[in-house]
């Protein structure tokens, strides 16, 4: 556990308590099974915003708290534990991009609405089913953006899009020249194909800034994955301590003790890597490397943990009623977001010059 200041510790405790009481796994399940197509519960998002979570990266002068990345990461991790559906990652990253960006008008217009939870933002970068920031075709001509983006999270709900184009980052409001078609992935959240057809766009920054934004998205996504892995580990351990076979609890079998000890070590490594990412962001030191380390570890450990959780639960883990399957499905979607491990290892090697 990272060393937290009082403010951060309070925020984490508050998020933990809220998640457990107001947004337990059953809340996600109710949303999923209502089959309304909504990616998250709008009232729950209002409640989260009311506690200030939407504005963690919004400067105080625009209605946010400017608490920093560690704070944002702590909240996202707690939400990940209960599989709470929310647009918090997109909103937080978008707020950063707008706050860093070139347009004062955009700051005044969008930051307060993001902080209050009124506006949802979505990140539109990749154009295919895999993360490929080197292959962006979306173009801006005379302030109009044209191109299509694949599997954009919360696209249906979003009021604004932060869009990567060939020459950098742009902001596009939903409306003229923007159309969204929903895509249902195994995680049953909201995703969409977004087509921009000469949509009016506001410039936020250059391609280097787009890269910086992706590093932030990688680290914050890794926080959600950390929460998921931690939860899977905890529930698996609890289960092994309860389930009796051969007249003894499963936890007494050495083969399973060693499996859990290995997973414990892996999750410790994942946590250190993810928290290291947040620290790098707050101190602005070696961020690209830290992002690769955080997300690659998150991908690999959550992948392993999600497989082991099912296996160690036995038959009950295969049932839809039990939560583990939803974590597995969400895990694979997030593993693909902002870089698979293969992508991140390649990037890491490239950054180090080999």
């Amino acid at each position: 556990m990272a060393v937290l200041n009082d403010e951060q510790a309070m925020l984490r405790d508050m998020a933990r308590e809220w998640a457990a009481n107001e947004s337990p796994f059953t809340a996600w399940r109710a949303l999923r099974d209502a089959e309304t197509g909504a990616g998250f519960d709008a009232d729950a998002w209002q409640a989260m915003s009311g506690m200030g979570w939407a504005g963690i990266m919004v400067p105080e002068e625009h209605g946010g708290s400017d608490f920093g990345w560690m704070s944002a990461g702590l909240v996202v991790e707690e939400l990940g534990k209960v599989l709470a559906a929310s647009p918090i990652i997109g909103v937080t990253i978008a707020a950063w991009a707008i706050a860093q960006g070139d347009s004062d008008e955009a700051k005044a217009r969008h930051l307060p609405a993001l902080a209050s939870g009124e506006t949802i933002a979505a990140l539109a970068v990749d154009e295919g089913p895999r993360h490929a920031p080197g292959k962006i075709g979306a173009k801006v001509e005379n302030g109009k953006l044209t191109g299509s983006k694949g599997f954009v999270a919360d696209a249906a709900e979003a009021g604004i899009f932060i869009v990567a184009a060939t020459d950098g980052l742009w902001l596009v409001e939903k409306g003229e020249g923007v159309s969204v078609a929903g895509r249902v992935l195994a995680d049953r959240r909201s995703h969409g194909e977004v087509v921009f057809d000469a949509a009016p766009a506001t410039r936020l920054g250059d391609a280097a800034m787009a890269e910086q934004m992706l590093d932030r998205a990688r680290i914050l996504t890794a926080c959600e994955m950390l929460g998921m892995a931690q939860h899977l580990f905890d529930t698996t351990l609890d289960y092994l301590k309860q389930r009796v076979q051969f007249n003894q609890v499963l936890a007494t079998f050495q083969a399973l003790q060693h499996r859990m000890a290995d997973l414990f070590a892996e999750i410790a490594s994942m946590r250190a890597a993810v928290e290291g990412g947040l620290e790098a962001l707050d101190s602005r030191r070696r961020v690209p490397q830290a992002a690769c380390i955080a997300k690659a570890r998150a991908n690999d450990v959550l992948n392993l943990m999600s497989r082991e959780a099912i296996q160690l639960h036995g038959g009950i883990g295969m049932t839809d009623e039990y939560p583990v399957g939803d974590y597995l499905k969400r895990a694979r979607v997030l593993e693909n977001r902002w870089g698979s491990s293969a992508f991140l290892r390649d990037r890491f090697a490239g950054l180090a010059g080999y």
Binding site: P129, F246, G314, M318, T319, D320
Partner: protein, 403 residues
Amino acid sequence: MATTAEPAAQVSESAFREDVRAFIQSNFPPELKGTSNALASVESGAGESEPQRQWREAMGSRGWGTPTWPAEYGGGGLSRREAAILQEELAKAGAYNPIQGMGVMMFGPTLLEYGSEAQKKEHIPPICRGEIRWCQGYSEPNAGSDLANLQTSAVDKGDHYLVNGQKTWTSGGQWADKCFCLVRTDRADKHKGISFLLIDMDAPGVEVRPIRMISGMSPFCETFFTDVKVPKANLVGEEGQGWTIGKRLLQHERTNLSGGNAMGRLGGPTLGELAKMYRETDEHGQLADRVLRDRIADFEIRWAAFLLTARKAAEESKAQGGVSEISSVLKKAGTKLGQERAELSIEIMGLQGLGWEGEGFTAAELAGVRTWLFGKATTIYGGSTEIQNNIIAKRVLGMLDHQ
């Protein structure tokens, strides 16, 4: 001797091959070409189409769905060599064996070994014709890996048993006609108190509740028995012999599960072909992503070695007239590789390989997600990987508990 026998064998082999070809030619409905109903029996209760029914009846009438079973009970009565020829010709024609399920995979072979003459005459022919669906009533809420802890009781009432208790994870229970069940006839002895009983699923007092699985389907059930009367004629073997018979059946189950058919590749593309569909290739037609190419080749080499291991185990078992030691690794090795294949497949496709429903995905992509999720069960059922490891360590390697 051998020199004169060989040509004769070859003559009869080629005559048999001709017969098979002619049979397929005149009986296999061309519209079924390239399809398979192999998953249907596991994952859904989907009904048969008319051509599917015709094909099943044709194969059943020859006994070729169960080619090596004795002809007197409705099997094909073929030699292993002939069965292999049949398999080859079916594959060449894009046809499949329509007679599947637990009756074929595990119950039939067990009944042929342990059943009475009357039981074989009654139960084997409908299995050979693919008319009766069987389900497996082994597991209970507190008897999973520790199967012998089962509590469902069968009390002797003179001409019948009265059965009470609960089974769970009963695959296909809601579509099955009959259930082969392990029940407790004696509370005093954990293993010797178990008997092997055949129960009609439509008997009064049998109730099933489907359970939804993470893949979205409900292919298995909780099964409740409340004062179900089961005729004594339905006891297989003797009272108390159930553990021996039940374990023999599990061996058949494991052999089938490790055979590669449950491994998520039912005639679909290989990983290499899949990758070429979804990823870029270079000017030589090779995958541009060399790391991915290396991982696929690594997988395929281990898969090829697995198939060789399985073949070797079969040959050794035949030569020794018993089960080869290496057979014990097949289930865990095959299912592990099957899961790896599924994980690699969805990784190759990226988010396109994680579609759940609706627009934007092909039927194959949506089915692939289910295969990936359902495949997680293969290392749990039929004796989990951990239980296989215990068996290998203790029985094969002699690594016993310190006494």
